[in-house]
């Protein structure tokens, strides 16, 4: 399941809502990305995330499909927020559900790597007196 949204989310509820429909799941691995208060030696006040939503859905689904060819996954959840976010706010959740831990651990890492490389989201960070667009390729 892929969700691209402005709103915050409850990680436990989101994970539980998927887990409860799969009684064969024995391993769940999650990554949560947060807005932190410091980047490039600047005090971060907030960030704004822009998204190309149609393409983001398509690219994230492709990444999930690719992960499914490499690991034995039962389900996968990606939530990525956009809009204005403040320090300590959640940005992204990736959760992989499998029978065994290796599949969920490794696929979660893989999905995050490719999300950061291919998914069309852009962060603009706001500091005390200026702002800057970020690039994951830097």
């Amino acid at each position: 399941m892929i969700k691209i949204q402005k709103e915050d989310f409850n990680s436990d509820e989101e994970i539980h809502n998927i887990k409860k429909i799969h009684s064969n799941v024995g391993a769940v691995n999650s990554f949560i990305g947060y807005v932190r208060d410091n980047n490039n030696n600047e005090n971060v006040q907030s960030i704004n995330i822009e998204v190309y939503e149609d393409m983001a859905h398509r690219q994230l689904q492709k990444i999930i499909n690719e992960a499914n060819t490499k690991w034995k996954l039962i389900d996968c959840l990606i939530i990525h927020r956009y809009g204005k976010l403040r320090v300590n706010n959640k940005i992204v959740l990736v959760t992989c559900f499998s029978e065994h831990r290796k599949d969920s651990f490794e696929s979660c890492n893989y999905i995050m790597d490719y999300l950061k490389k291919d998914a069309p989201f852009w962060k603009k960070e706001f500091y005390n007196n200026k702002s800057e667009w970020l690039s994951n390729s830097k």
């Binding site: 990305g33 995330i49 822009e50 998204v51 190309y52 149609d54 393409m55 983001a56 398509r58 690219q59 990525h80 940005i91 992204v92 995050m112 999300l115 950061k116 490389k117 291919d118 998914a119 069309p120 989201f121 852009w122 962060k123 603009k124 667009w133 970020l134 690039s135 994951n136 390729s137 830097k138």
Partner: protein
Amino acid sequence: MKIIYFAWIKDITNFPEELLDPNEIKNLDSLKKYIVSKYPDLKKHLDQKILRFAVNQEYIVENIDLKKNDEIAVFPPVSGG
């Protein structure tokens, strides 16, 4: 056809999107020529291969032909996650 701009590219074009004449823009190379002639500040980013192009939500690097209902996106390297 429609072209849409994201992130700091939009700061250069001053428009989030525009409609192009498909009779004048036949392929991706001609679209690149069009945007750098209209927005000269994009040229150095194109030359440095910083600009990314997507056609109908798929990354495109080769010079494909463009069709009248295509949606072309121009954007910088992504920074999600």
